[in-house]
Symmetry: C2
């Protein structure tokens, strides 16, 4: 047992998130979940409620339950339906009630075992039950490992837009076991990859170059995967440490998200058409094209971004969305602009975008004129369906 | 106008709540709401959503709306049904949606215009819409002015117990206009008085003596009322400043609340039988009797507390609850104990109470044996219905 621990720990990469009293560690590597007894026991809880979805739970909840019990914790499992529709008030109410029924007290734990949907939902429930219970993220998708499990943003969707209801609630521990990604469908890997390569596009051109050369290793489960997760987590941890509540720099992480959220909204959060990471990929391609249209960015950089995302199997044009090449298939300019205006990054009615002066040179652009956005969207729609 | 302001400001008492970046002021006095233009304008918001109940809204929302518009803010009104049943997920969802529909952005305001129910609900909605919007408390009941509007506790009830879902979210300003209490029914004044005299029982025996002599002035709307609100707010502000998230001393504010919450629960939150302040009064009387039973407190202090509360028209015995003198009218010992065990102050299965060594000498008693509580409750029930 002691030897197995040594080997496992050598394979672990630990990324600290520095937030004073709310600091925590992200533990990354193959098999880190199975070896987490000691880390979980060290949190000093008596009980844990595992929140998971029916699919992920059937694969991983029994092993996690057994491990918690070995670590001396009373464990219970709360299961929700997979999919974005689960991030709703009705499921939140159900999960909060189930946590209370499981007699989880203030010193106990909520464990989010799943992708971004489960992490956001379970983290939000942990934030509000008894006005705050500690929680542990066990992200089981690439997207959750590189993005949503880190940084403390939790929440649900509203009819008015995505993630409009929520809380900042930092986890006490993140266990990113890259072996859990081996069973992930290719489409989910691609979606998570979009949020990974995003860190290159924001401020790390060398990481973009590395991704351009090494993405097949990330997809295939080679050691490139652990490296990419670590680089992404370090980048996100650094931004979160200097701007936990998104009053400044943290908005950079929204590269591709203003366009992306609007696309998710106008396609009705229909995962057969568009999942979050795909929307972000398309949104990043749009952010670069819009930056070119604004005279900010060399067109060759936008073309290189688009070519790379396409090579990695991600959508970059509205026509790539199923039905997006039909007139009205993804709505009108007004539909898209309306969806953006409800986005939470609106300040005083003006639009805020993350734009780029080049690969690795993104910045927060406030007060972008709505007319410029309108003209750009009209061009994008014309390019996709000739309307 | 300038002269009117001067007079009004002389009559204002301002209690600061020191919480670093989240510090704010409680402004107390007759007519402070009508003169709050400048204070509200200074918050720099563009718009405000007033959350109120149908009863309070019909009395005070038009004047507040007009005043906000004079201060240059776009104002909208969100109305909910009065009563404890409003502190539920369904109403929370409705209020959050209405705040989003009103296009309230991060820099804008949610204004809670009402008693404790509206303050808790609106404050919680403000805490979670867009992961946090600033809010202003305009408490319209004595209970809200001396207790619930100060300190940042917000939340809703769950089937498992009161206030089990919520957030710590400090207001940016509290406007406690004591003139608004002139239309309050006597029963509501009494209920608020219970939370007022509580501060004497916790750690201020001189304030208890003052209350014992001056309570009719508080009830009648004399200057004693402003004094009592100020003393209560100062006491609460001091405790909140040193323990915002209730990891220590703040629990003292729960004097009477562990018994009280259990009573509210077993009577089904039925306001025809018991409202919160009444439950607290009865709970405080019980806390003193239980302290006597535990050999901690001179019986004469418990008798003095009971005599004072009875004189002020508040319940102190289970038989005072309508139906409480019938066998089973307020449930069994197990019902009461079960309701307490679900209370959020349970740690590791042991019961925590606020007990007293005398008037003004309350303390946090952890690990109180369940058997002692059981014996005490059996005695209380026997005293009320001879079972």
């Amino acid at each position: 047992m002691a030897e197995a621990m040594d080997v496992a720990q050598k394979a672990q990469r630990v990324v600290p998130v520095a937030l004073d009293a709310r600091s925590y560690e992200i533990v990354i590597g193959r098999g880190v979940l199975a070896d987490a007894n000691a880390r979980l026991a060290a949190l000093g809880a008596r009980a844990a409620a595992i929140v998971t979805d029916e699919h992920v739970g059937s694969l991983h909840a029994p092993a996690l339950t057994a491990m918690l019990e070995r670590a001396g914790l009373r464990a219970s499992v709360i299961s929700v339906k997979p999919g974005e529709a689960t991030k709703a008030f009705s499921t939140l109410e159900h999960v909060c009630g189930a946590i209370l029924d499981a007699r989880i007290e203030r010193g106990d734990l909520v464990i989010a075992l799943g992708g971004g949907v489960v992490g956001d939902l379970a983290g939000f429930a942990a934030a509000i039950v008894r006005r705050g219970i500690r929680f542990v993220q066990v992200p089981t998708s690439l997207l959750a490992q590189v993005d949503s499990s880190v940084g403390g943003k939790t929440g649900i969707n509203a009819p008015q837009g995505k993630n409009l209801i929520g809380a900042f609630h930092q986890p006490s521990l993140v266990l990113a076991d890259t072996a859990l990604l081996d069973t992930l469908p290719l489409r989910e890997i691609r979606a998570g990859y979009a949020e990974t390569v995003k860190y290159g596009l924001i401020d790390n051109p060398a990481f973009f170059d590395w991704c351009d050369a090494n993405w097949p290793g990330i997809y295939g489960g080679g050691p490139e995967r652990e490296h990419a997760v670590e680089i992404a987590c370090r980048a996100k941890a650094a931004i979160v440490a200097r701007d936990e509540r998104e009053t400044g720099d943290r908005a950079l992480l929204n590269l591709g998200h203003t366009f992306g959220h609007a696309l998710e909204r106008v396609t009705g959060y229909d995962s057969t058409r568009l999942i979050h990471g795909e929307a972000v990929a398309l949104g990043m391609a749009q952010a670069f094209r819009f930056s070119v249209a604004q005279g900010l960015c060399d067109p060759r950089d936008a073309e290189r971004v688009e070519a790379h995302l396409r090579e990695a199997g991600l959508p970059t044009r509205l026509a790539d969305i199923p039905g997006g090449d039909m007139p009205g298939g993804i709505g009108s300019v007004d539909d898209l602009l309306g969806a953006m205006a409800q986005d939470k990054k609106v300040v005083g009615g003006a639009l805020t975008f993350i734009l780029a002066r080049g690969i690795g040179a993104s910045f927060i652009a406030k007060g972008v004129p709505a007319d410029d956005v309108r003209a750009f969207l009209a061009q994008e729609l014309a390019g996709s369906n000739g309307a």
